[in-house]
């Protein structure tokens, strides 16, 4: 698994994907945080990172889909999958290697935003007047959300050898899981069931963990979603044998 992981990371670096993803993410989030009207910290007048945490998932929908779209599609298209799957490693090792490479890349795009954290911390009307617990909770939530998106992305990549299809399917699934369930719940059609529907989506759990309370139910939700999509990837990947 480690050899696959290493290869993926090297290919992110050598194909410039890593740099592009990190830079685009930082520019996009930086613009929302500090420049664009209505969203920026100065106009809002609150020294907090709400803009970062509300915009990052949307940016991730695009960026993570772009990172993961090639992971299996390209191997299938170029035929290198045949080399990979006839080596003495299991399908599972291949999938996990690729998955963790994606997660690490996302983690490295998140790390520089700690500078924003520091800046906002310093900007408070009373210096340091920031809900530090909630911020760390939000970071954890964002990281878990991104990890889910990566698992969705590699699943989308495993079902097709066309990168564009993979990209679009991944974006659709990520966005659906992120927000469609809470939007559906907003219709308030099903009474108490609305709450259940909202909780199928990522947003409910992301918001809950963002309050700074790390509820084991939320963590469990994220881990289950990741496991489910990795399992689905495994199934799709093994489908060549059917």
């Amino acid at each position: 698994m480690y050899s696959i992981f290493k290869k993926e990371i090297r290919s992110f670096l050598s194909s410039l994907i890593a740099y592009v993803v990190i830079i685009v993410f930082l520019i996009a989030i930086g613009l929302f945080m500090w420049v664009l009207p209505e969203y920026n910290v100065f106009e809002m007048g609150y020294a907090n990172l709400d803009t970062l945490f509300s915009m990052a998932p949307i940016v991730f929908v695009f960026l993570i889909s772009a990172i993961t779209m090639r992971s299996f599609s390209e191997e299938r298209k170029s035929g290198t999958i045949e080399i990979l799957t006839t080596k003495p490693i299991s399908d599972f090792q291949i999938i996990l290697g690729k998955y963790f490479a994606g997660v690490v890349l996302v983690l490295f795009s998140l790390l520089p935003t700690l500078i924003y954290f520091y800046t906002v911390y310093q900007l408070g009307a009373v210096k340091g007047n920031l809900d530090v617990g909630a911020t760390w909770g939000s970071y954890l939530g964002l990281f878990l959300l991104a990890s889910c998106f990566v698992s969705i992305g590699i699943f989308a990549s495993a079902i097709t050898d066309n990168q564009i299809v993979s990209f679009i399917v991944s974006m659709f699934l990520c966005y659906s899981f992120y927000s469609i369930f809470s939007l559906l719940a907003n219709f308030s059609l099903l009474g108490t069931l609305d709450n259940v529907i909202a909780n199928i989506g990522i947003q409910a759990h992301y918001n809950s963990i963002s309050r700074g309370v790390i509820d084991s139910r939320d963590v469990l939700y994220f881990l289950s979603l990741i496991t489910a999509f990795i399992w689905a990837t495994k199934t799709a990947f093994s489908a060549r044998k059917w």
């Binding site: 090297r10 170029s78 080399i83 990979l84 003495p88 060549r240």
Partner: protein, 300 residues
């Protein structure tokens, strides 16, 4: 037995790609797997390398079953797939190191990679990206990749297809040299390749084995099936006189040329008969049926 294939079948949807084929490969054999395109060569190799499963039947490599001990099988084999897929944006050495690691070579990886780069003649190209290499060098990278872990069995799917004649020669020599103590299963649709490299031949057509013999055995089969001697005489002679000659089976006359189908090489005998009968022999030509003819006959 290095490779045992028993009643192996593969069905793609409605189409039967392999129909209960069985053959064995002994350790140290170089088996030429011969057949026209679409005969089922690649399918058999893909099953043997655990890339796709069979529909029915059994296959094993070095005693490990391909379905139940897939990982063990994959440790024993080196595989060069058809069209030689490679990560074109990786560097030669980087790619080989990756392959070595995936093969689980651990600390030996670096030394083995250096050794293979040297062996297959990639020393000058080692710092290039794979995408920049010529086809011949790419093929060498593919071969190096298959040989890194010193596998007992090498499975090479059309290793020389698409190369120029010089590269084909180089590739054949390389395979011969590197695979001296290995079992090699090599698919091709080029007859000369089999004659140049293999000691056994399996000919496959439309998913069925049509011939399975040693190269010498196939040649023997051929000599049984016949030799054609064409003679040209100054004056016509009666066909019946030629037919009386020992070992001559049929005679075809084209003017003063006679085509004799014989069961053995009787040229010496013929010239003696000609001189005793006073025939003036202008020309005599021996045509042996080549492997190519057999191949065409069997796979038509």
């Amino acid at each position: 037995m290095s490779i045992v294939v028993e009643k192996l079948s593969k069905i793609y949807g409605e189409q039967k790609a392999l129909n209960e084929i069985s053959f064995e490969v002994n350790p140290g054999d170089v088996l030429g797997f011969l057949g026209p395109n679409g005969a089922g060569k690649s399918t058999t190799m893909k099953i043997l390398t655990c890339y796709i499963p069979q529909s029915s039947g059994n296959a094993s490599v070095c005693g490990f079953d391909v379905s139940s001990h897939s990982i063990d099988v994959r440790r024993q084999i080196g595989y060069l797939p058809e069209l030689n897929p490679l990560y074109t944006d990786m560097f030669v050495k980087e790619y080989l190191l990756f392959s070595a690691e995936v093969q689980g070579l651990g600390k030996q990886a670096n030394a083995r990679v250096e050794e293979m780069i040297d062996k297959v003649g990639l020393t000058i190209e080692r710092k290039k990206k794979i995408g920049q290499l010529s086809k011949g060098y790419k093929q060498r990278v593919g071969l190096a990749q298959a040989m890194l872990h010193n596998p007992k069995v090498l499975i090479l799917d059309e290793p020389t297809s698409g190369l120029d004649p010089n590269q084909v020669g180089d590739m054949r020599n390389l395979i011969k040299e590197i695979g001296r103590d290995k079992t090699i299963l090599l698919s091709t649709h080029i007859m000369q390749e089999v004659e140049a490299m293999c000691n056994r031949v399996v000919i496959i057509n439309k998913g069925e084995i049509v011939a399975n013999n040693t190269l010498a055995g196939i040649n023997r089969q051929l000599s049984h099936s016949g030799i054609i001697i064409t003679i040209e005489l100054k004056n016509e002679v009666k066909e019946s006189m030629l037919k009386q000659i020992h070992d001559v089976q049929t005679v075809k006359q084209k003017g003063k040329k006679y085509q004799l189908h014989c069961s053995s090489d009787i040229r010496e005998h013929l010239s003696q008969i000609a001189s005793t009968n006073g025939w003036v022999l202008l020309a005599m030509n021996l045509e042996e049926e080549s492997l190519e003819d057999v191949f065409q006959k069997l796979t038509k």
